[in-house]
Amino acid sequence: MLRFLLRRSLGAVVILFLLSIVAFLLFFGMPRDPALLMCGKTCTPANLENLHHVLGLDKPIPEQYWIFLTNLVMGSDDFAQGPCPAPCFGYSYHSNEQVWGTLMDRLPATVSLTLGGAVFFLVIGLGTGLIAAWKRGTIVDKTFTAGAMVISSMQIYFLGPLALAILVYQTHVFDKPAYNEFTENPGAWFSGLIIPWVVLSTIFASQYTRMARSSMIEQLQEEHVRTARAKGMSRRYVFLRYAWRGSLIPIVTIFGIDLGSLLGGAIITEYTFGLPGLGRLAVESVFFSDLPLLLGVMLFSATMILLCNIVVDAAYAFIDPRVRLA
């Protein structure tokens, strides 16, 4: 187990390393000159020069990258804005805040959105999925399947604004979604996120409905399920113990992927509802061509994805005894 985790983490680090390179190069392809942003109004070529120097943009890219890497690992004190402990992505060009700090500021919103949403869509999605599989072929099954089909074809950028328009702007039933710290005001935290949760989970749930149903049905064809029935186990018991256990693998896999990408920033959702999460941070950092921030977000969300993958693989071991880790 431990060896497995170590090995996987090592792989992840390698991928992150490569990714950071790609992202780094990517940024330097950008049409905007970050110095121009910093330079501000009374900008002279001289100033620009100076800034290029301050930002280290005049150094060759490999060197810049090396600096970035060393800062990341052991922090740095030679930032004009002040010291920058590891993990140091430097300071944002735009807000002059420490990137890591900003990331951590934005994380709670994303986490709240993701985990809250996840609870919703797992419960709803798997619930309906199981029911559909249990009542396979009946009208219930057909309605669920059809409904899931349609909903899963909706996009957050349609459902979201629609929900907002109806619930907020037309009927004023809800306030505009907003993020409030749970610790400060749980009530506001909940009411502020409810619409995003519902919208997010509606769409995700529909996909889980379909997946749960099909994998359950697949499992029910399995011979060992038949054996269990031949043993005289009740249909319900077999359904919930044997078939369900088997369906977990694909579900967990997909869930891991979803969770990872969501935790890395539910870009469109956060953007649609104006939630101050990592996703929106990402979009901002692109708009302001804020190199440190952009790199920060990119690596962070990649880390999330990889992390979740590892967790999922580890989870297999608990679900399926045949899987041996190492």
Partner: protein
């Protein structure tokens, strides 16, 4: 197989719906011409009496009328009907291109990896793993301006086609892996089959084996995957335009209409507007997914629905 597909009614119907959308996209200019409007006219200035000073159509339901079948877009007051036609046209054009590109790449790399095996296989697989670890959406957003800047200096007007090409490129870059992986698997399996060995023994050159023996056998997964990928590309493209990094005004585009629909202007005053892009896209995606399922069932009936 073809017969089995024909027997599947939902499949056939959805096939018609999908075909309809492609037709609409294809014939957009013609239809617009007959309808006598284009998606570029600023009716807010042409016909100010139809709007208030914030550009909201004064008539109910977003100004739907005999003259403007789908109403007028809040803001500059473009004609929604023609805008939707052209929007569909743009989005489909891009998505089809992306699909073709990814399929070709998938075949190329997947089959090579699977057939050659060994080092080639190893590296291609690693690349696939690596690219799969990418935060795709984030990558799209971040790279759009970059790719655009590869074609034009930021000082010049970005021609529409450049944005289109850029959209195609970025989506292609992270789009081909899944298919590639599947094809690699299939090829790997095929390679072990007797008839390939037979061909090998009979001294057929690899190229020929791949062409004559392998490709025919991977058509099924390609077709199935293709029908699944295209709608995803459509929504992804729309997503980018929605975020403002894809197609921008005044070029009509599905996603860009969603962006418009998500402005307070629209949500406050003119819900009607958002249904046109919304409903049309849902119908399209549903139809396409149903089609996809039918195609899959038609090709390999074993897999349980």
């Amino acid at each position: 197989m073809w017969i089995r597909f024909k027997r599947d009614r939902t499949g056939v119907i959805s096939a018609y719906v999908v075909a309809f959308f492609f037709l609409v996209g294809l014939l957009a200019p013609v239809i617009a011409n007959l309808y006598g409007k284009n998606p570029y006219t600023v009716y807010a200035d042409e016909r100010p009496e139809l709007f208030d000073s914030a550009g909201v159509p004064v008539q109910p339901n977003g100004g739907i009328s005999g003259e403007f079948w789908f109403g007028l877009e809040p803001g500059n007051g473009y004609d929604v009907f023609t805008k939707l036609l052209y929007g569909i046209r743009t989005s489909l054009m891009i998505s089809v291109a992306v699909t073709l590109a990814t399929v070709l790449t998938g075949i190329l790399l997947g089959v090579t990896a699977g057939y050659l095996g060994g080092r080639a296989d190893y590296w291609i697989s690693r690349v696939i793993d690596f690219l799969l670890a990418f935060p795709a959406q984030l990558f799209f957003i971040a790279s759009m301006p970059v790719v655009v800047s590869l074609f034009v200096s930021p000082r010049d007007e970005t021609p529409v086609y450049v944005r289109v090409v850029a959209l195609i490129l970025v989506q292609w870059f992270l789009g081909w892996m899944s298919l590639g992986r599947i094809l690699r698997g299939t090829t790997l399996a095929l390679r072990e089959r007797e008839f390939i060995d037979a061909a090998k023994v009979s001294g057929a050159p690899p190229g020929r084996i791949i062409r004559k023996e392998i490709l025919p056998n991977v058509v099924t997964p390609i077709l199935v995957q293709g029908t699944y990928m295209l709608p995803n590309f459509v929504t992804a493209e729309a997503g980018l335009s929605f975020l403002g990094v894809g197609i921008v005004e005044p070029t009509p585009d599905w996603g860009q209409m969603f962006a418009k629909a998500s402005t307070e202007l629209v949500m406050q005053n003119d819900i009607t507007y958002m249904f046109f892009p919304g409903i049309s896209m849902i119908v399209f995606i549903v139809a396409f997914n149903l089609l996809g399922d039918s195609v899959r069932d038609a090709f390999d009936p074993k897999t349980a629905r």
